[in-house]
């Protein structure tokens, strides 16, 4: 006859506390070394000469013109890619046609291309010695080493953001609601604006936010096509590079801190929207 000892049932589907602590510790150290310290370093360096130095760096006319150009570039690239994303997602998610998988893969292509190559192809196309170079020179159109080149290179590198977010979202939603609207007499554009758009608006916003972050921060592709003309073709990341190479660290990090804040806002909005989109399946 044995006497049963009272003991807590060991958790059969969890790790021992030691393992949990160890794994969490390693994970936190990794995040600390690779993410938190570099982020903190940006702010620390930016304010190395106090708040006055920080403000002075941002008020510099060249910094202001870089900020303006960055805003302009994003202002061109983001709406165009949004339009494309919605159109492509509509065609891909709502219709059946051969070659669909290939189209989806082609949309992702720019993500597989090095930003430097993205810049290079536009130099090969529109540069002075490029394919269309002679024609452009004859008509006095400047694309490379000018704002249009920066815009088009940025469009290329941010091309997939909205589309790749919307395609799975719209495929998940099936066509029921749109079909219901059609049987109720709605025209195509009524169905789109009243039914489809409200259902994908958070998805669009999500794609737009990510697209914008990349558009404002793109460095490699823009670096190739810009020509680094100060006050004219310098975006914020290029301005940071120049300041840094001139050993003007405080100013470089001051401008960098703006982009860092943009990215922190971006990831905050991103995680808020992710929750919103996931709930959206059950509520509005």
């Amino acid at each position: 006859m044995s006497i049963t000892r009272t003991s807590a049932v060991p958790n059969s589907t969890g790790e021992p506390a030691v393992v949990r602590w160890l794994l969490t510790g390693i994970a936190l150290t990794f995040i600390f070394l690779f993410l938190i310290i570099p982020v903190a370093a940006v702010f620390a360096e930016a304010f190395a000469r106090g708040f006055a130095g920080y403000v002075k760096a941002l008020k510099d006319p060249l910094a202001v013109s870089a900020i303006k150009l960055t805003l302009l570039t994003a202002g061109i690239a983001v709406p165009l890619n949004m339009l494309f994303g919605v159109a492509a997602a509509w065609a891909i998610a709502k219709f059946e046609f051969p070659g669909k998988n290939i189209l989806v893969s082609l949309i992702d292509l720019p993500f597989a291309v090095s930003p430097v190559i993205a810049g290079l192809i536009f130099v090969l196309l529109y540069g002075t010695y490029g394919l269309l170079g002679p024609w452009l020179v004859k008509h006095d159109i400047k694309i490379i080493f000018a704002v249009p080149g920066i815009a088009i290179a940025t469009i290329f590198v941010t091309f997939p953001f909205v589309a790749r977010e919307l395609i799975p979202l719209m495929q998940l939603q099936a066509n029921d609601e749109e079909e219901a609207a059609t049987t109720l007499g709605a025209r195509g554009w009524q169905t789109f604006f009243r039914i489809t758009l409200p259902n994908i608006k958070w998805g669009i916003l999500y794609g737009v936010i990510l697209c914008n972050a990349r558009a404002m921060g793109e460095f490699g592709a823009v670096s190739v096509v810009s020509g680094h003309i100060r006050g004219q073709t310098n975006t914020m990341p290029l301005h940071i590079e120049i300041l840094y190479n001139e050993y003007n660290f405080t100013a470089a990090f001051a401008v960098a801190s703006l982009l860092l804040m943009l990215s922190l806002i971006t990831i905050t909005l991103k995680s808020l929207l992710e929750r919103r989109i996931h709930q959206g399946r059950y509520s509005r």
């Binding site: 029921d176 609601e177 079909e179 219901a180 609207a181 059609t182 049987t183 109720l184 007499g185 709605a186 025209r187 009524q190 009243r194 039914i195 409200p198 259902n199 959206g280 059950y282 509520s283 509005r284």
Partner: protein, 326 residues
């Protein structure tokens, strides 16, 4: 509004969903398309609605060819299986949608739309839910919203795809009786798809039994039940078949009588394999000498009198059996 379906065929890739379907649905009736899944009933309904195009054949509404008409112009009310409510709109906005998207000249005034929506919501008995969103509603309530939304545009025909499929058993029963009464009130030609024979027999004026893309039988519920046209219809409506007595006999489980001894009446012996007690009746599964299994349904009193146990041998006499010529 009558509906005429003329030699409609539809293939999905290599799969043939509908094979040369001919069917005419008289105006004002409540018709059910009954069949197992994959029988093509939903495809037929979607073709009537214009949500799917037939490969060949035509659809006529009131004698008028509607095959080329878009779903938008057909003026059908369609209730989707999962209701397809607009999830970002309230109940009111859902029901009002069809009224709001009309061209300006046909559109009711704002107050007109409001009155009409409330009238419809009263009709489907959910006017108190007007400001709720779909996610706040129960399945039965969503179903009623979907119905009100479809009725709002005054459709010429009302089409319902498995209208009670997503509901639990009790609500199903309630709602289908309510649908029957509603139809008696508004009398719009209605077609609904179901795989539940009980539902079809109880609610509809005409039952269309479908199987593998073809129509097996069309008739009034009693007709179809009492005089099934072929073994499939018989089987689908709950019948059993017994082979080699001397021909094949088709009976219903409750039409088989059991006795301990053979009383000189032709029948067959079987061993009781399983006994299921099911409310007022008892279901027995008999195994014949030839391995064939036969379902039998008897009432509780006869079961008690027979004192049957699993593993015992019993004599069964099929009554009222039908023979189908192939």
């Amino acid at each position: 509004m009558s509906i005429e379906i003329r030699s409609v065929t539809k293939n999905f890739g290599k799969h043939c969903a509908l094979k040369n379907i001919d069917l005419s649905i008289p105006g004002g009736e409540l018709v059910s398309l009954l069949g197992p899944s994959g029988s093509g009933k939903t495809t037929l309904l979607r073709i009537i609605a214009g949500l799917e195009a037939p490969d060949s054949g035509s659809i006529l509404f009131h004698g008028e060819d509607a095959t080329k008409q878009s779903a938008r112009d057909r003026k059908v009310g369609f209730v989707f299986q999962n209701y397809a409510l607009f999830r970002h709109m309230t109940v009111f906005e859902n029901v009002a949608f069809g009224l709001k998207v009309k061209p300006r000249r046909d559109r009711l005034s704002k107050s007109g739309i409001r009155d009409k929506v409330f009238q419809l919501l009263k009709l489907v008995q959910i006017d108190w839910l007007v400001d709720h969103y779909p996610f706040q509603l129960s399945g039965g309530q969503r179903q009623r919203v979907a119905l009100a939304r479809a009725l709002a545009v005054e459709p010429r025909v009302l089409l319902l795809d498995e209208p009670f499929g997503a509901l639990d058993a009790k609500v199903r029963k309630e709602l289908r009786r309510w649908l029957r009464r509603l139809h008696d009130e508004i009398h719009v030609t209605s077609v609904f798809v179901t795989h539940d024979q009980e539902e079809a027999l109880e609610v509809s004026d005409i039952v269309v039994v479908m199987n593998e893309g073809q129509i097996e039988q069309v008739g009034a519920p009693d007709d179809v039940y009492d005089h099934p046209a072929n073994p499939f219809v018989h089987g689908f409506l709950g019948g059993v078949s017994i082979h080699g007595l001397p021909a094949s006999a088709y009976v219903r489980p409750h039409e088989i009588e059991l006795s301990r001894k053979r009383n000189g009446v032709p029948g067959f012996y079987g061993v009781v394999k399983y006994i299921f007690r099911k409310g007022t009746t008892v279901h027995l599964e008999l195994e014949r000498d030839n391995g064939e299994c036969v379902d039998v349904e008897i009432d509780r009193d006869s079961f008690r009198d027979l004192e049957l146990k699993e593993g015992e041998k019993v004599h069964a006499v099929p009554g009222n059996s039908r023979v189908f010529s192939n």
